[in-house]
Symmetry: C2
Subunit: 222 residues, 2 copies
Amino acid sequence: MPPRKPASKDPEPLPRSARKDLTRAKLLQAALTLMGEGRSFTSLGLREIAREAGLVPNAFYRHFRNTDELGLVLVEDVGITLRRLLREARKMDVAPRDMLRRSVSVYLEYVKLNRLQFLFISSERSGGSRILRLAIRNDVTHFTNEMAQDFRIRGLYAQLPTASLQMVCGMIVMTMLAAATDVLDLPPDQPLLEAEMSENFVQQLKIILFGATRLNDALTRS
Amino acid sequence: MPPRKPASKDPEPLPRSARKDLTRAKLLQAALTLMGEGRSFTSLGLREIAREAGLVPNAFYRHFRNTDELGLVLVEDVGITLRRLLREARKMDVAPRDMLRRSVSVYLEYVKLNRLQFLFISSERSGGSRILRLAIRNDVTHFTNEMAQDFRIRGLYAQLPTASLQMVCGMIVMTMLAAATDVLDLPPDQPLLEAEMSENFVQQLKIILFGATRLNDALTRS
DNA sequence: ACGATTAGTGTACGAATGTACACCAATATA
DNA sequence: TATATTGGTGTACATTCGTACACTAATCGT
């Protein structure tokens, strides 16, 4: 004879708030999933997202006022992802030989690992809702600033005024995002194209770093 | 007594095909106008565009099968605009001093002049319909290639293999597009911010050109 | 001059969307 | 244990959309 609780039902006796967070996460994931299927976030509807999450349309309102608000949470998550990337990059610490190439391949792996998030920022950074655009731009700017700060700490380009250093980091970030965009809409498992793309990426960074070095040296001599 | 034709009516006795081209242009312009009002092209509907053009929804079909097809025509127009830009750049010919800064300011003027078109590619380049994205990427690639060819003709970076030269031009174009995006969503008539942005742009190009020079020199010496 | 072509209109329909309201059942609070 | 909260459901409605069909009137080809 079964116990008081039939055991087959009641799969998760969680506190209500935990359940809420769970379905909220389902909504966020649903949006990402749909984007993974080629839809652009801007074109997603509240009903569509709820449906993908296995919910009735109205349930959406229990978590977000509208799709833009959901998008902002996604941006927030991206911010966390970027911070984690920086933290891992910092670990990679002092330069062995071809550290650049290694960084690049680590980064590209990271992009593929967080595919949907990068897809999201890549397509919404200049795309749809003004609010989202600004939020993403904000995240990217923060990322850039932290990178500049890291450069400072490591004594790289020590002669450059902060503004210039930030500009250089801005170029690096821009290049990183462009590279991410490229890997992402590369047909999957094309190791040849991907290697070529990756090599291109390395060369681009080299150019930026060369240029920055020269800028730095010019200031050193004066 | 008025002549056979009442004269007050009949504003344009044009051949039919010309009239057609004219309303077609109205549709294209309508799409651009709507984008100028903050809408993203992807989010525009056939009805909306027709309405803005002063037409009944069905009239749209006499010119385009769907909005994507209209978008492709817009991309084509952008291609023409870019070609014109290159032609004018070629005229500017041999380098007086601070040619770079001049080029930049000419370019930024050009962007503001063709505001809506640049707004269009900037937001659809990574944004919405796959077809449009590819078409735009194609245009940008062509632009890049022509720029590389111009470099070749002028004997710039003569030591660089074609692939590297194209990569350098790719970086320049990427930087140009990013700068365009920046001017475009700058609040209008902020000469201070714009000047700062423009100066940043110049510095970025300098870095790329420095880096490319170094790459070229390395190959020269070997 | 006359019949064919066609740019643009009018009406209509099914599908999808955002949102409002009433409701339920389980959890939380007292 | 009684009550209030609340995550989720069901129904409903106005709006918008893409598109199909029939129609008109002006232009074109012969």
